[in-house]
Symmetry: C2
Subunit: 234 residues, 2 copies
C-alpha cells in the first residue's frame, strides 16, 4: 500500500536550513480548510507547493466521472511537479492544511542559488514516485481484501495508533474506495466481513481497532505495505 507521506524529519531539517530563511519572505503561506481545493485538474500551474501541515489527496477524474486517488501527501511533500502547463491532478485538503506557495518561475533561480534545496526536492519527488509505483503494483495485482488489509495497516501506522492498534480513519468509505480502485459498496462489505471475522472492531464509523494484526498482515503480504519506504514517513 502506498501512502506517500513526506519525510517530516528531513523537512524540518530543510526548514531550518538557509534556503528557507532566504526564500521565506518571497514565498507566501496559505491556509486551506478541510475539503477545500488547493487546485483543480486543468488549473493553470502557476505555483508549486510545499506542504507544511495537514493532509491532502491528489486525484484524477476520467471522462466518465470515475475518480482515482493517486496519492496522499502531508508535511514535507512537494506538489505540482507531476504536471507541466496545467495541473493534471486535483488536490483537495482532507484536513486543515497550510502550504507554502512557490511561483513556478522562481524555481529555477532557487535551485541555482541553493543546491541543497534542489536535492531536497529530488528526494521528495522520488519518494512520491516510489509511492505511486507501489500503489500501482498494489492496485494492479491485489484483491479487494488484500488492498483493504494493506490500507488499514498503513493508515494505522500513519496515524500513530495507540497501543493495541486503535486509530481514526481520516476519510469516508467512498474516499477509501477511490484510493483502492474499488466501489464503496465493496469497501463497506469487506469492512463488515473483517469485523464479522473479528479481525477489526469499529466503535464508530470512523474509529477502528485492529484486533488481529497478524492476519491482516498475512493478507496484505504480497506485502508492499510493511516494508514500504514511504511508510517510514510519519
Amino acid at each position: 500500500m502506498c501512502i506517500a507521506g513526506g519525510n517530516i524529519a528531513q523537512f524540518e531539517r530543510s526548514l531550518s536550513g538557509e534556503w528557507d530563511r532566504a526564500e521565506g519572505p518571497r514565498t507566501s503561506l496559505r491556509h486551506v480548510r478541510a475539503h477545500d481545493h488547493l487546485f483543480f485538474e486543468g488549473d493553470q500551474r502557476t505555483h508549486l507547493f510545499l506542504v507544511e501541515s495537514g493532509w491532502v489527496k491528489l486525484y484524477r477524474t476520467l471522462v466518465d466521472g470515475q475518480r482515482q486517488v493517486v496519492g496522499f501527501a502531508n508535511a514535507g511533500s512537494v506538489l505540482g511537479f507531476e504536471s507541466e502547463e496545467d495541473h493534471l491532478n486535483g488536490c483537495e485538503a482532507i484536513t486543515p492544511v497550510s502550504v507554502r506557495a512557490i511561483p513556478v518561475g522562481r524555481l529555477s533561480e532557487m535551485c541555482a542559488r541553493n543546491g541543497k534545496f534542489a536535492e531536497y526536492l529530488l528526494n521528495q519527488i522520488g519518494r512520491q514516485l516510489g509511492a505511486a509505483q507501489a500503489q500501482l503494483a498494489a492496485v494492479g495485482t491485489q484483491s479487494a481484501e488484500q488492498k483493504l488489509a494493506s490500507f488499514l495497516l498503513s493508515i494505522c501506522r500513519l496515524c500513530g495508533a495507540t497501543r493495541g492498534g486503535e486509530f481514526d480513519l481520516p476519510m469516508r468509505r467512498g474516499e477509501m474506495a477511490e484510493f483502492l480502485g474499488l466501489r464503496l459498496e465493496t469497501v463497506s462489505r469487506k469492512m463488515s466481513e473483517f469485523q464479522r471475522r473479528g479481525w477489526i472492531r469499529m466503535s464508530s464509523l470512523y474509529h477502528c481497532c485492529i484486533v488481529r494484526r497478524d492476519i491482516l498482515a498475512e493478507l496484505a503480504q504480497g506485502g508492499s505495505a510493511e516494508d514500504h519506504p514511504m511508510m517510514r514517513s510519519a
Copy 2:
C-alpha cells in the same frame, strides 16, 4: 495510458550543456543487452542512471510472484530516484540500451555545482511521477478493453508509426499483461477480438496495424491516452 518516455529534445539540450561536458569524464557509460537487467529489486542502490538510448521497463514483484510493470523509460529518463537504500524496482532492458551511471554519492555535488542539472532531473522525475499517476488512474478504473486500446495507441505513437498506423509491438503478450494489470490470456483474447472486429490487423505476432483508430480512441477515452503529457516525449 502511461508510458513515461523521457523528453528527448530536452535531454539533448542538457547533453550539450555544460554539466555534461564537466561531468562526462566522471560518469561511466554502460551498455546493456536486451533482456539483461540494469538492476534487480533489492540490489543496493549505488548508482543513478541516465538513459542515453534504448528502452527499459521498471517492475515490482509481489511475494506470490505476480509482477507489475510500473513504467517504461527511454532516452532522457533518469532511474533510481524512487528508491533509497535499495532498489525497489527491477529494471530490465527491452531493447539494447546505453546508460550513464552516476554514483549516488556524487549527486549532491553535481546538483550544487550546476543548478540546471538539478532542474533537469526534477523535470524528468516529475514526468515519471505524472506517468505513474496516469497509469494508476488507468489501471484502477479502466476495463481490459479500455486499457488495451489506450496501450496500443500509446505504443503506436511512441514507435513513430508509419502512415496508416503500422508498428511493431516491442514486447510479448505476457509483458503487456504485466503492464496493464491483466492476465496474458485476457490480453490475447482482447487482441483477437479487436482483430475479429476489424479494428486492428496483425500480420505477425508482433507487427500490428491500427485500422480503426477512431474506435480505439473512443474506447480509450476516459482518455488519459491522447492528451497525456508523457506522450509528448518521443
